[in-house]
Structures are given as C-alpha cells and as structure tokens.
C-alpha cells in the first residue's frame, strides 16, 4: 500500500527539504509492486529494453502485465518476488543433481532454461560447507593417536563457509559481468544455477576422502575435480557459442580444478 503525500503543501522553499511527491508522478497503483526481476539486473537504461523484458508468467505478473517493469526496489524485500527461482519439485532437483555428475553431456542449460532455480545453489553449497567442516574434522580425529589430544577445529567451519559461499557467489557474477562487457548474452541466475549444481560431486567425494591413504586421496580429488570442471566447461561452452571467448571457458575449468585442490589441501591434508 502506498501512502499519498499529496497534502498540497509546497515545501521546496524550505532549505534542504525533499520535494513532496505529487499525484501525477505516481505509477498505476496495484497491490503488488513490479517484482524485482533479476533478468533486468544490472538495470539497463537502453530505451528499447524497457517494457519488452521477458518475464516468466507467474500469478503476480499475469495481473500486472500491463505495467512497465521498472527497477522498483520495493520488490527486493518481498519473499514472493524470489519464489519464482524456487519453483521446482523434488524430482526436478534430483534430476539436475544427477545430470551434474555426468561430465560428458552439455545439455544442462537447455534443461534448466525454462525454470532455473536457486534452491540447488543455496542448499548444495550449505551442505558442502557442513560436510567439509564435519568430515574434515573426522579425518583429523582418525589420524590422531590418542583420542584425548583431538580438539574440534572451528577454523574449518570458517574456511569452508568463506571459500564455498564465496566461490559459488562470486565466480558466476564475475563471468556474468565479463560476458556483458564482451557484449555476449549472459544470464546471472542460470550461471548461479550451473555453478551451484557443479558442487554436488564434491559432497559425495568428501566422504571418500576419509580414506587415510595419501595417494588415493589425490586420485579421488583429481577425478572428482576433473569431472566437475569438465561439466562446467562443456556447458559454459555450449552457452557462450562464440569462439573467441574460449579463454573464459578454459579459465572456468581451471578455477574448478583449483577449488578441488584447495578442498583437498585445506580440509584433508
């Protein structure tokens, strides 16, 4: 509900006062403000884009379809404007997770095209943070001779949280901005979805990394890191479709391998 400030009092003569909003500048009032729409992020001022941005048809947008999708910040704090990114069922999420374990196919983007979700990114990364800090501590517990010498190392929780959340939030954003800069098509939500699901394999391999044989641990992490990196790189290549951006694809591969090595070295040394 928007209050109307049309008291009619002229206040612009008061030094430093904010001019009152007049009725003429009000947009059409509906009970739902235009939703915060990540497809228009960052807000673009290109004239042709306004009013023609594709919005997935949800219950709310169907009502307010005639409204211009302005970048109105009122939608940022309402839960309903984000529920379009969580519109998935259990079998859909499981199917996407299984697809991420398979490094050979590059159809992930076509799978998520109609309905990219952030559920996978949020909860797979949270699971990985928990698994790394708990299984990592368990691994040190098994390698200690006497049980009394072992202490739960809280720094594992800090490292896990900063590294995993940082990686899964920052890397897709960096790619999104880079591709926008190179004037290629790019979609932040789909990138977050891709990188989020690519962490699934690390959740599984963390349990295997409990085995205390040094060489075996390196083999496990190289295999799973390689699979995950191939998954990311192949799908990114199918999305970008421009040959002179192949360095970006190779960099994505390299970053995922670096994450895998970091996990092994930091948590399962």
């Amino acid at each position: 509900m928007e209050e109307s400030y049309t008291t009619g009092l002229p206040t612009s003569h008061l030094a430093g006062s904010v001019p009152a909003v007049t009725a003429g500048e009000k947009s059409t009032t509906k009970q739902d403000a235009p939703l915060a729409n990540m497809q228009t992020f960052p807000p673009s001022n290109a004239g042709g884009r306004r009013g023609q941005v594709y919005q997935p048809i949800t219950a709310q947008t169907a009502e307010s379809f005639e409204q211009q999708p302005t970048t109105n910040w009122q939608g940022v704090f309402s839960v309903s404007s984000y529920s379009q990114y969580f519109n998935v069922d259990t079998d859909v999420v499981v199917d996407r997770m299984i697809c991420s374990l398979n490094p050979v196919r590059d159809d992930f983007f076509s799978k998520i095209d109609a309905n990219p979700d952030l559920y996978g990114m949020v909860w797979i990364s949270t699971t990985l943070v928990f698994i790394l800090s708990s299984v990592g501590n368990l691994a040190t517990y098994f390698s200690v001779k006497k049980a009394n010498d072992w202490n739960f190392d809280v720094s594992y929780v800090h490292s896990a949280a900063w590294s995993i959340y940082g990686y899964v939030l920052v890397v897709p954003m960096a790619y999104h901005f880079y591709l926008q800069y190179m004037r290629s098509n790019s979609n932040l939500v789909r990138f977050w979805c891709l990188w989020g699901y690519s962490l699934t394999i690390f959740v599984l391999s963390s349990f295997l990394l409990l085995i205390p044989v040094g060489v075996l641990r390196w083999m496990i992490i190289i295999t799973s890191g390689g699979a995950s990196a191939t998954f990311v790189a192949l799908n990114l290549k199918s999305f970008i479709q421009e040959n002179d951006l192949s360095m970006a694809v190779i960099a994505a591969f390299g970053l995922q391998i670096a994450l895998a090595v970091f996990i092994k070295v930091r948590f399962f040394a």
Binding site: V79, S83, V88, D89, V93, Y119, F130, S134, N137, F152
Partner: protein
Amino acid sequence: SASVPAPPPLPSSRPEIAASGFGPAPNTLTEPVWDTVKRDLSRIISNLKLVVFPNPYREDPGKALRDWDLWGPFFFIVFLGLTLSWSASVKKSEVFAVAFGLLAAGAVILTLNVLLLGGHIIFFQSLSLLGYCLFPLDVGALICMLKDNVILKIVVVCVTLAWSSWAAYPFMSSAVNPRRKALALYPVFLMYVSVGFLIIAID
C-alpha cells in the same frame, strides 16, 4: 482543589477467568507475577506435549499450534547454547555464540525456505514450532554433558535427532506441496544433524 478521585473498587471476588469470550478481558496487568509465570509455563508445557510427545489424541498431526508462543523456543535455544558452552573445555563463549546463531538463524532460514517453495505457513508460528522441536536435542545435550563417553554420545544424539526430526516432520511436510516435501524437509534435517554433530564434537 480537587483531590485525585479514588480508583473504582475492584470486584471483591475474582473468579478464575477463563477465555470464554464473554465479559471484559482478564486484566493481566494487575495480576500477581506468579499467575503470569504459571500461565506461560503451562502454555509452554501444553505446546510441548502437542508438538514433541506422541499423542494419539492429537486431532491432526500436521495442524500447526493454535496457541504458539516464542518463550518456549527461546528457553530451549538458550538452554542448548548454555549446555554446549558448559561442555566445552575451550572457547566457551564462542561455542555459545555459534550454537545460538546457528539455531536462531537456522529457524529463520528454514521458514524462508518453505515460503520460497510456495508453502503456506505463518512466519512466527513456524519459528515457534521449530524451537519446540529442539526439546529432544536439549535432553540429549544434557545427557552428553553429564556422561562423557563417545559411544554413548553417538547413540544418544542419534536417538534424539530422530525424535526431533519426527516431531518436525508432520508440520513441515503439510505446509508445502507434496511434490516438494523433501525439498522442505531436507534443510530441517541438515540443521538438526549439524546441531547433533556439534553436541558430539564438543568435549
């Protein structure tokens, strides 16, 4: 000069005021403190009985608490934090902070998760329910603090974890679309497992 008029005389005999809906609301501001505490305690206990204990006469296991409150969850979260803090031999205040933050933020995030998945719950009612479902883990943490044996800890934590999850299951699963049940329940399970792990690992 007018003196202050005397306040209207209170009725000499106050019958036990039940929420009957008739007559004026009970004047809770002037009642003895013990009455207030007793009323809140009895509400906490009755909510606990409804949520956590097997109750064959419960009319609908998925139905949320009618009389939810936030005192109970607050006590249980603080108690769990204190118990973990007492059990820890080093960094006691950090342990309390981690436990309290994990549980409080976790309850909020779990509720948001259900709302984002298109479920229908009331925010504070869900916080209340998730707080009450911590009671078994409180009991488990207390036992683990008193008896410091790894095998016993693992067994106790597993049992109380299962009990907590069992208590939270009907409420969470009925709040969302049945095809998304697992998506709503998994984070609850994850939070209880991480709390259980914290109980085992703190020594």
